[in-house]
Symmetry: C2
Subunit: 508 residues, 2 copies
């Protein structure tokens, strides 16, 4: 008795790109009344499996009423376009995702039970494959926070995270690495440490990140001098040739579950020692490190706030590192001020070059910090005796060996280049004479971003004064750099509206 | 030295409506390069306070690249439009939200500490005001899951939830209420219980929900017979006049934090007795109930799976209810099959009317269930002696008192009307002769939604057979109802593609 009619269309929709960035969560946008939603029973916030040419991802559904999409169209968030490697006009198939069995382990952890290594493997494999929604990730992160992971569980979680991604393997011998816990703004020591350490014969394949909320990440800064998007075989070639590299970690899938978990850990801001240890060490183990130096700033505003807390964390890093075949050494550094003078990729690169070339205007704080940490690594890797690492690092910087090694690394990564110079600059002057009593780093970072950093690598701020300096009225405090007159004027207006960013007080 | 120029625009953007429904989470969409994002440092996933004419909400930012929005425009998710009471073209101001101090309590709970009543008050006030992101809600829900709330904390959470919303207050005397734990599809007993109980002189102001994922909620079904969107003064008037009401709970802000928490509890699907108790009882306490009957289906596929589990839950409901000044009684019912014959608002209303009018085609299962639960309420409210409630309920149904009371309630709510009839119907016939061995309720619900329920109140399914019936080939199994020929054909095609929705097996 059913009338013959058109067969319901298969569960496909045509992809249209609207350009919505829901951070890293894959989101699918469809019309509320599209045929797939109706026939499959998809609703706002349903989890939907999207497949395209054999690739599959799971996304959260946001339904749209109104003219943005028609009934045969779907949009994806930027993360979903990327993961699915889709193009506008592609036809994607939508289905109910298979049941997420590993959520049972998350529930067990929520209810206070210990998890086995196999349970962590199952959870982390699904996390790395993007099968968890942000809410499910938040539940897992919360269930593991505080002191809820014991040492064995932390080891199991770390191993699971390593196993869920690519691994770099190296020939016998030491592989040095470093990590900063809660990094400082403008802290470009990595670009100095790698050439110093490599110049002393130690191997150091370093992956770094791009800026997330700052005006520049190490990968952004390095990219103004040489290519940084290398794959694993290319990285191996560079390290075989030059002993070290400074590349973007995002181009290789080392511990990809870590990147997924971090996107919910950051906004939740829970103290979770087990997850911190697993995050740091899984990346290092996946990179094939044998010796890991942890730069751990301790202070009231730092991530680690007290000496006892630092002690506990250092001990757990060592034990978990050992279980994964790595030696871990912790260096305590000062965590108060930004380092160097430039803010923005090219301006920070210029600071690094000034130190490497031993120029008279090289920022002393950056040199000092790099020498300290490189010294620790040299002692750790037995390229220097205990207590003599910093002296060796200093000598290698002074006699040009580090500079030559840096050039060699850049050439091996694809060719060294000059950092771009901003076509538009504008000095911002002191409104009165007096002493600089404070510098607001967060506002300076914002000015640098208004000027275009890190998207315009040449953009940013060149800081001309330091805390405690005496300045005359009208004397430049910093110089704005920008790629366009508009961005320059815009950053300048903002700077003018925040006159205390560099706070000058008349002397009594 | 800064050039004079245009002052940066204030932190305002013009609202444009694209119609994106991110479920209930308020989301703000802006261009990544809009001036507010640049000057405030907002990034994808930033929390942003949006204010408009004194109203403020906090939303999560999704940034957009491309032509959807220009630099001076912003869009809101549907939840945000609603909460902000904004209109397209309004100019909203964007700011960093004030720090969310109550998150400290969530962290304390994550780390395993007990929370004080003041801590729950602070958290729940922020939750009800929409200041928590979905991730933060997930962390709170996870931290309170399992057995993590003790009795005192559950009482404190319930009180905090009541205090965060409106409260209905009644003159002295009993105020009856009921709640189903994990309700059944098609279970429209509420529309029978209220008139029966009110006809026996007990007061029963009942708020119900609309469909979330089902083809009809009680509020949707009731709305085909009378208005249901009443505010608190209107509800009071109806109950004063008729002794009871059946209205939509969404129109009054009773325990609004519960609605917020439920949107993350549902997808996480964690067992959390404390939260279940707080959710149920906060709504009832806010509605001013003195006597609450809990309909608790127990069974392997129900929310409550075993008799001991039911026992523990019942005890906690009683104790927390008592602390809030309510008496709680638990009725165990069978939780296996759907109830009634219609699926969809008007068709379910027709079943209810058939029972009330004592018509010959009234579904017996619906009558039976309503009589059982109404009987429990009558005994609980001392309108009948123990063991005689069901008989009284049955008599009140049989002699027309319940039907007259129902009409009185509908008139008081704004006027009784006939449920709409679908202009297009189509019987779906058995493909073979044999016995009905199973009915797939989930698929039937999907067919009803394809036909247009609950958006088209007349749409849905009229089920003509029951489990165990013998049918002849070509005999109609159910009739599809739809508002348009397109929806009818579409639902019919889907039904044809799923021939086992009503599974008929030839007798051996």
């Amino acid at each position: 008795m059913i009338e013959a009619g058109t067969v319901p269309p298969p569960n496909t929709l045509r992809l249209k790109r609207m350009g919505i960035d829901s951070y890293q969560e894959p989101v699918l946008y469809t019309r509320r009344d599209c045929h797939v939603c109706l026939s499959e029973g998809f609703e706002a916030q349903s989890r939907v499996e999207i497949s395209l040419e054999g690739r599959r991802i799971v996304a959260t559904l946001n339904v749209v009423d109104g003219p943005l999409l028609d009934e045969s169209e779907a949009d994806l968030s930027e993360a979903a376009w990327r993961l699915l490697r889709a193009q506008p006009g592609d036809t994607a198939t939508l289905r109910h995702p298979p049941p997420l069995e590993s959520l049972g382990h998350v529930r067990a952890k929520v209810y206070g039970r210990r998890l086995t290594p196999a349970a962590f493997d199952a959870v982390i494999a699904d996390v790395a494959a993007g099968r968890y929604s942000d809410l499910q990730l938040a539940a897992f992160v919360t269930a593991c926070a505080g002191e809820r992971l014991d040492l064995e569980e932390t080891v199991a979680l770390t191993r699971a995270m390593v196993n869920a991604g690519e691994r770099m393997r190296w020939s016998d011998g030491l592989v040095m690495d470093k990590h900063s816990v809660g990094g400082l703004p403008g802290n470009r020591t990595t670009m100095l440490i790698v050439p110093i350490v490599a110049a002393c014969g130690l191997r150091m394949p370093k992956t770094s990140s791009r800026a997330i909320t700052s005006p520049a990440g190490t990968a952004d800064t390095m990219e103004t001098l040489a290519p940084v998007e290398l794959d694993v075989p290319q990285i191996r070639k560079v390290v075989d040739a030059a002993g070290g590299c400074i590349v973007w970690g995002g181009a290789v899938r080392l511990s990809p579950a870590d990147d997924v978990l971090i996107r919910v850990e950051r906004p939740l801001d829970l103290d979770s020692q087990g997850q911190l240890v697993a995050s740091v060490l899984s990346k290092k183990a996946a990179a094939g490190a044998t010796h890991v130096l942890i730069d751990m700033p301790v202070g009231p505003t730092a991530k680690v706030r007290s000496a006892p807390a630092a002690e506990v964390l250092a001990r757990q890093l060592s034990l978990v590192g050992e279980a994964l075949g790595m030696r871990v050494r912790v260096a305590h550094t000062d965590g108060s001020a930004p380092v160097g003078r430039g803010i923005g990729p090219a301006l920070e690169a210029r600071d690094v070059l000034a130190v490497l070339r031993h120029e008279s205007n090289a920022p002393g704080d950056l040199t000092q910090r790099a020498v300290h940490l490189a010294g620790e690594l040299l002692e750790f890797g037995q390229a220097a005796r205990e207590g003599q690492g910093a002296a060796l690092a200093s000598a290698v910087l002074a006699d040009g060996r580090a500079w030559r090694k840096f050039q060699q690394i850049c050439e091996a990564q694809g060719g060294m280049r000059e950092p771009p110079r901003a076509p538009h600059t504008l000095p911002v002057a002191a409104a009165r004479s007096g002493s600089v009593i404070s510098i607001d780093n967060r506002r300076l970072a914002r000015v640098a971003k208004l000027a275009g950093a890190p998207k315009s690598p040449c953009a940013g701020i060149d800081l001309l004064v330091q805390h405690g300096d005496f300045v005359e009225r009208g004397q430049p405090l910093f110089v704005l750099h920008a790629a366009s007159p508009g961005a320059l004027a815009y950053a300048a207006e903002y700077a003018r509206s925040q006159p205390d960013t560099i706070h000058v007080v008349e002397d009594a």
